[in-house]
């Protein structure tokens, strides 16, 4: 219902944009530009590409802002897909916009496309800034496409997205100063400004004001820092009124530690235990410069939390049988979910893949959990590269899944791990006939 309303709203915005654009070009001083000559069409569709690109960018902002309800309605994973899909459409539209307009205006003024392009940069207000913005954007996109295949580091993700904000700012001016759809139509201009205000409003509300209110209300503070393995650390966070902080097992939050050396970076981490109303626990692997400094965090450090986010939670299924699959540090939300499901009295198999035994996090905790589960939880460790390991050795592939979990088709599956591992497990599950609807997976963040 909510979903339908949301899609309807989105569709209406696109119709409004198409409507204004169509009106401007059908009732044009030069006659109907959509059915006229090619110059008119190049200009009209070039402008449309620009309008839709800007709309897609605003949509991205709303997705990034992800109010809690958007995540709950659509599912974070589908949102991530949408975010990336819209991103690609965006690049195409953003290329079409200047190309079509350069050719259109070049023909109209009877100059070469190159001369027209130079003219755009020299004598069209704010267009040079927009060209620079487009260059930055394409650079950032090319860069992130090049590295996304590997495991994308948070710092890289952050830097590219910051570049995108800069590009967006650079490209805003020319829309209102030379966008003839707006200079010729006051109502379209007003609508457009409202659209921007709405998108940025939702971003600021969800990523700025709401976390600030939580900060004041809960006064989050680091209680203690515990070493789990040589390169994994748990941070326990306490605060006031924690029982009403609406976090669920499996969710993540974007965290900023207010201490020297930490305060300028915010990173997303999953809850690694079932929320007990007394503390939040984040378990963090040392993967980059920021996470390497985590063990040095001092108790008493104030914490700014944006979240919780995500629908990788128990709430979304009622199945009594579950299969949880974790790879490496992907155990954090899985560990929280395992406890949640056991407490709820459901039957759980947890497959936990690691390189070798020394990389296993929560070994003791998981054993304790198994002991207290009255046989409802079974944990199977799988080591990909540990000759000394007596148990399962190798990857979590279709053969192993079928052998360890013969009733896999009867189970809801939760999967979290490094991208490549998730990809191979997803295809193994598909080969065994597990439907996509029964598979929940988490990639930490948009």
């Amino acid at each position: 219902m909510k979903k339908a309303a949301c899609l309807l709203f989105l569709g209406c915005q696109i119709l409004v944009i198409l409507g204004f654009w169509g009106w401007n070009h059908v009732y044009h001083p030069m006659g109907n530009q959509l059915t006229g000559d090619r110059i008119g069409q190049l200009l009209a569709y070039g402008r449309l590409a620009g309008l839709l690109a800007a709309f897609a960018i605003l949509l991205q902002l709303i997705l990034i802002g992800r109010g809690r309800w958007i995540g709950r309605t659509f599912g974070l994973d589908r949102l991530t897909h949408l975010h990336h899909g819209v991103g690609f459409a965006l690049v195409s539209l953003l290329l079409a916009h200047p190309i079509l307009l350069t050719f259109g205006h070049a023909l109209q003024a009877d100059v070469s496309p190159w001369a027209q392009f130079i003219d755009f940069c020299r004598s069209w207000e704010d267009v040079l800034a927009a060209v620079i913005g487009l260059g930055l954007l394409l650079g950032a996109v090319a860069f992130s496409v090049a590295v996304v295949v590997k495991r994308i580091r948070y710092e890289v993700w952050y830097a590219t997205h910051l570049t995108l904000y800069l590009a967006l700012a650079l490209a805003f001016g020319h829309q209102l100063s030379v966008g003839s759809d707006f200079t010729d139509n006051r109502w379209f201009r007003i609508y457009w400004i409202a659209l921007y205000a709405g998108a940025f409003g939702s971003l600021i509300l969800n990523r700025g004001i709401r976390p600030l209110l939580d900060f004041v209300r809960h006064r989050f503070v680091v209680a203690r820092v515990v070493e789990e393995t040589t390169d994994v650390t748990s941070v326990y966070i306490e605060g006031r009124n924690l029982p009403v902080f609406p976090v669920e097992a499996g969710q993540f939050m974007t965290v900023r530690f207010l201490a020297p050396g930490f305060r300028w970076e915010a990173h997303p981490f999953s809850m690694s235990c079932r929320p007990d109303g007394k503390h939040l626990r984040l378990t963090i692997k040392q993967l980059g410069d920021f996470t390497r400094r985590i063990p040095k965090l001092r108790p008493g450090t104030r914490v700014f939390i944006d979240g919780p986010h995500g629908i990788f939670t128990a709430r979304h299924n009622a199945s009594n049988k579950l299969l949880l699959i974790a790879g490496g540090i992907g155990i954090t939300p899985i560990r929280a979910l395992a406890e949640e499901f056991v407490v709820e009295g459901r039957e759980v198999i947890l497959l936990y893949g690691n390189r070798n035994k020394s990389a296993v996090v929560f070994e003791q905790e998981l054993e304790t959990l198994v002991g207290s589960s009255a046989g409802r939880l079974r944990v199977v460790h799988v080591m990909s590269d540990d000759p000394a390991w007596i148990g399962e050795r190798g990857r979590i592939d279709a053969e192993r899944l079928a052998r360890l979990v013969p009733d896999v088709l009867l189970r809801e599956v939760y999967l979290c791990g490094p991208p490549l591992m998730m990809k191979s497990v997803r295809s193994a599950l598909a080969r065994l006939g597990v439907s996509r609807r029964r598979l929940h997976d988490e990639r930490f963040a948009l």
């Binding site: 006659g31 000559d37 090619r38 069409q41 690609f88 004598s123 207000e125 003839s180 200079t183």
Partner: protein, 217 residues
């Protein structure tokens, strides 16, 4: 997978734009294959070229007269309109060239009367062009599939509509328009003419920015 898809989408956009652009040149340059069909549009182009060239000369003479009679703002308007008609003449000339015909016009000596009479004469001429001549020419050009000529006619017609409004306003406020102070812009790209106001950021006809405007005062 997605990378490939993205690259192919981008390539097709570039190809499409280049293709469309070439098509325009081809369509504009196309001389109809039959022996006669282009004749009328050709005639129309020549008539329009002749008309605009004469209008330019006439308005220049009217501007001189308005200055003599002390109608500073009206003089500025006539100079702007003359410039605009010159741009239209050039556009028609270019369309003639596409048909392989050199443009030529016999410019007659303008009949100059009082500024009020001149304004009325100008208004009559522009109204006739806007309401009957150009619409017929456009229809013919579209029937002949000469999109270049049609565009040239449409651009001229859109400007003439602006001229009509300005001449009417001048006639209605002849006394106020004695003083200098009215400024007019003419779009260098399409000849669009209007009063110079701060809110006019772009040409509403061809979308050219303010820097492409010539200012007359």
């Amino acid at each position: 997978m997605t990378k490939l898809r993205m690259i192919s989408v981008m390539c097709s956009i570039v190809a499409l734009s280049v293709g469309l652009a070439h098509e325009v040149r081809a369509a504009d340059a196309a001389v109809p294959a039959g022996a006669t069909p282009a004749i009328t549009t050709l005639d129309n182009l020549q008539a329009a070229y002749q008309g605009e060239s004469n209008a330019k000369a006439r308005y220049e003479a009217f501007a001189v007269k308005a200055d003599e009679e002390g109608y500073k703002s009206v003089a500025a308007l006539f100079r702007a309109a003359a410039h605009s008609e010159g741009i239209h003449a050039n556009k028609h000339g270019a369309a003639l060239k596409e048909l392989g015909v050199a443009s030529q016009a016999t410019v007659e000596k303008p009949v100059v009367k009082s500024t009020q009479d001149n304004l009325e004469a100008a208004l009559g001429g522009e109204t006739a062009e806007k309401t009957s001549m150009y619409p017929a020419f456009i229809k013919q050009a579209e029937a002949d599939k000469n999109l270049g000529a049609a565009r040239s006619f449409k651009g001229a017609m859109a400007s003439e509509a602006g001229h009509v409004l300005l001449f009417k306003e001048a006639l209605g406020n002849l006394n106020e328009w004695k003083a200098a102070g009215q400024e007019f812009i003419v779009c260098q790209i399409c000849g669009y003419t209007a009063k110079n106001t701060a809110t006019l950021q772009k040409c509403p006809v061809c979308a050219a920015p303010r820097l492409k405007f010539d200012i007359f005062k």
